[in-house]
């Protein structure tokens, strides 16, 4: 009972925080609006075209994208940490982001899509991007799993090392491919690779929404298995769980989530690392509880980071990926020190 109450209270607090971040994000910017203006615009009370433009074309899609990407990264990070039994595993550190990113850059180049299309949002290509990202992300995940195996089991030290090399390998590949683009596209691609959502639009929302919804549901339904995966593999097998099969399903689902996120926002690291840790310290060891909390924390972190990224150096903008890294790197180091002690 106590645990359920704590869980609900945590979710409620996260909801309040997210709402606060939402409020800051939607009212502030190069053009400040009062909350009253925002409410009037949303409820269509004597609409003002200028307000409509700011809310519906710029701020709202951007916040919605931040929410979806935050949720996706929070869940994917929880799965990665749970499956590898390693608290430092993160889709960004393991190079899955980079894999998805490289194949999306390749997609843009091969199909002669001007990076401008990312902003314009040509329909089919935007909808195709997560799919293409999935191929690269899955390739990265497969490479990591193959190379980190030793004597038939996943070796944790090798996992992190393989991840780091895969990460820089795919990063270099993306850089190489993007250098083949014309200078204007290159600049766009460079900003996008660092992780940015300032050019969000509704087609992006539509392209990633089905991935996030479907895969989150599948992962949630399997999340209790992550509790068992914290024991060593022999014990899990003897309990009657098809370890390999279930782990591969979970990893593929989270690669799908990551790809959908990367295709829209570029590579945003550290959310997948921080959110599960914060969630665990709030609600304990059960992944059925960790999963939604981690999604919520990821959502909040990304909205507030994006708010910072758009306001702190006004009128110019910092890519949100950089803001997240500035918060994330000290946290990562803190976790390293703590895990040594």
């Amino acid at each position: 009972m106590l645990r359920t109450n704590r869980f609900l209270l945590t979710l409620f607090v996260i909801f309040l925080l997210t709402f606060g971040a939402f409020y800051l994000h939607i009212t502030n910017g190069s053009f400040d609006m009062s909350i009253w203006d925002v409410i009037k615009t949303l409820l269509r009370i004597d609409p003002n075209p200028k307000h409509d433009l700011v809310i519906f074309e710029f701020r709202l899609p951007r916040i919605v994208i931040a929410m979806l990407v935050g949720i996706g990264l929070g869940i994917a990070g929880t799965v990665m940490q749970g499956v590898t039994r390693n608290g430092l595993a993160d889709p960004g550190i393991l190079g899955i982001n980079a894999g998805a990113g490289a194949s999306i850059v390749l997609f843009l180049l091969l199909f002669q899509m001007k990076a401008k299309h990312i902003t314009d949002g040509s329909w089919t290509s935007t909808m195709m991007m997560p799919l293409f990202g999935f191929v690269g992300g899955a390739l990265a995940a497969a490479l990591i799993l193959i190379f980190s195996r030793k004597n038939g089991r996943m070796d944790m030290q090798r996992l992190i090392l393989t991840g780091i090399s895969i990460n820089s390998g795919f990063g270099a590949l993306s850089m190489y491919i993007s250098l083949k683009m014309n200078p204007q596209d290159f600049e766009m691609a460079a900003v996008w690779m660092v992780g940015s959502i300032y050019n969000a639009n509704w087609i992006f929302v539509l392209s990633m929404l089905p991935w996030i919804v479907i895969l989150s549901v599948i992962i949630y339904r399997k999340s209790h298995l992550l509790d068992y995966f914290q024991l060593e593999e022999g014990t899990v097998t003897s309990l009657g769980i098809s370890v390999e099969k279930e782990k591969i399903i979970l990893i593929l689902c989270s690669v799908g989530l990551i790809s959908a996120c990367v295709s829209v926002s570029g590579s945003i690291g550290f959310i997948g690392l921080m959110a599960p840790h914060i969630a665990r310290s709030l609600v304990g060891l059960r992944h059925r509880l960790i999963m939604p909390v981690s999604a919520g924390v990821g959502m909040f972190l990304l909205i507030i980071s994006d708010y910072i990224s758009k306001t702190v150096f006004e009128p110019s903008e910092l890519p949100v990926g950089i803001v997240v890294s500035i918060i994330g790197i000290p946290y990562f180091l803190y976790l390293l020190v703590k895990s040594k002690a």
């Binding site: 593999e233 022999g234 014990t235 097998t237 003897s238 009657g240 304990g284 060891l285 059925r288």
Partner: protein, 279 residues
């Protein structure tokens, strides 16, 4: 006598290393069978292969005359529970929660534990004397207490067959005995078939109905403790000169002293010399 597990031309190992090849033997229902043998002889590998934790390279294991590779892993989990060597638990996990993991193969929904599950968990804690620390963190327990908790988790699986991989290693003498007595009670009161790996041959002889003596991936001998715990078999398996007598109370053979056989002594002297040279 009915066989509950039968191995047919079974070969197994790790990656390219084959540990044993073409083993043929069987385990009797309702008995305690213990596998003994020197380090690296393949006894743990055999136990893991029987318990499908390790995939065999070839051959078959039959569980109640059904090919285990054709059974789903969940189905097997309702019949066989395995206690691994040095199992690990995430920090912060409570004893009762870990034991409840044993209910996995029987649970239908993932939410709340059914009344039947609670009952079995309580039974498992009673039998292993772990009820007193049900609410504690596993990390806070001593090695002996922890081993009993892991045993309780395996028991919560409610299986008729229990495989134990060195259940007494790293435990003090009192806890070793306690664990083996729990195992014995399970066998006598609940007709559990037990297969375990032990290093202590006196414990093996005292608590088992049947011993399997292995060396270099082959079964040297199999039979009752009095037919295995003999000077000849010990010489062949461990290369020791065992002095054996009968326990006046239980009538089981005990090895009260032993010496390493001369050739082996020389061999080890030789390796000491090379080590000295290397240093």
């Amino acid at each position: 006598m009915q066989n509950v597990i039968r191995m047919e031309d079974l070969s197994s190992g790790y990656e390219k290393n084959t540990i044993f090849e073409n083993l043929n033997t069987s385990i009797q229902a309702g008995k305690i069978t213990t596998i003994i043998g020197p380090n690296g002889c393949g006894k743990s590998t055999l136990l893991k292969t029987i318990g499908r934790i390790l995939q065999q390279k070839s051959g078959k294991v039959y569980l109640q005359e059904q090919d285990m590779q054709l059974l789903s892993t969940k189905e097997i989990a309702k019949k066989i529970a395995i206690l691994s060597q040095n199992p690990i638990a995430p920090s912060g996990l409570k004893v009762e929660e870990l034991i409840s993991y044993g209910r996995y193969p029987h649970r239908k929904n993932v939410g709340r534990l059914a009344a039947k599950d609670q009952e079995v968990i309580q039974w498992a804690m009673d039998i292993t004397h772990t009820t007193a620390f049900r609410a504690r963190d596993i990390e806070q327990l001593s090695g002996g207490q922890r081993q009993k908790v892991w045993l309780a988790m395996a028991l919560a699986q409610e299986t008729s067959i229990l495989l134990l991989d060195e259940p007494t290693t790293y435990l003090d003498m009192a806890h070793q005995l306690e664990v083996l007595q729990i195992v014995q009670a399970l066998n006598e009161e609940h007709q559990c078939t037990i297969v375990m790996v032990l290093h202590d041959i006196n414990h093996a002889a005292r608590f088992s109905h049947e011993l399997i003596a292995m060396k270099d991936g082959t079964i040297v001998n199999q039979g009752s403790p009095s037919s295995i715990l003999t000077n000849e078999v010990m010489r062949a398996v461990f290369q020791i000169d065992a002095k054996i007598m009968q326990d006046p109370e239980t009538g089981t053979p005990i090895c009260y002293s032993y010496d390493v056989i001369a050739e082996r002594k020389e061999e080890s002297n030789g390796s000491n010399k090379t080590r000295a040279l290397a240093l």
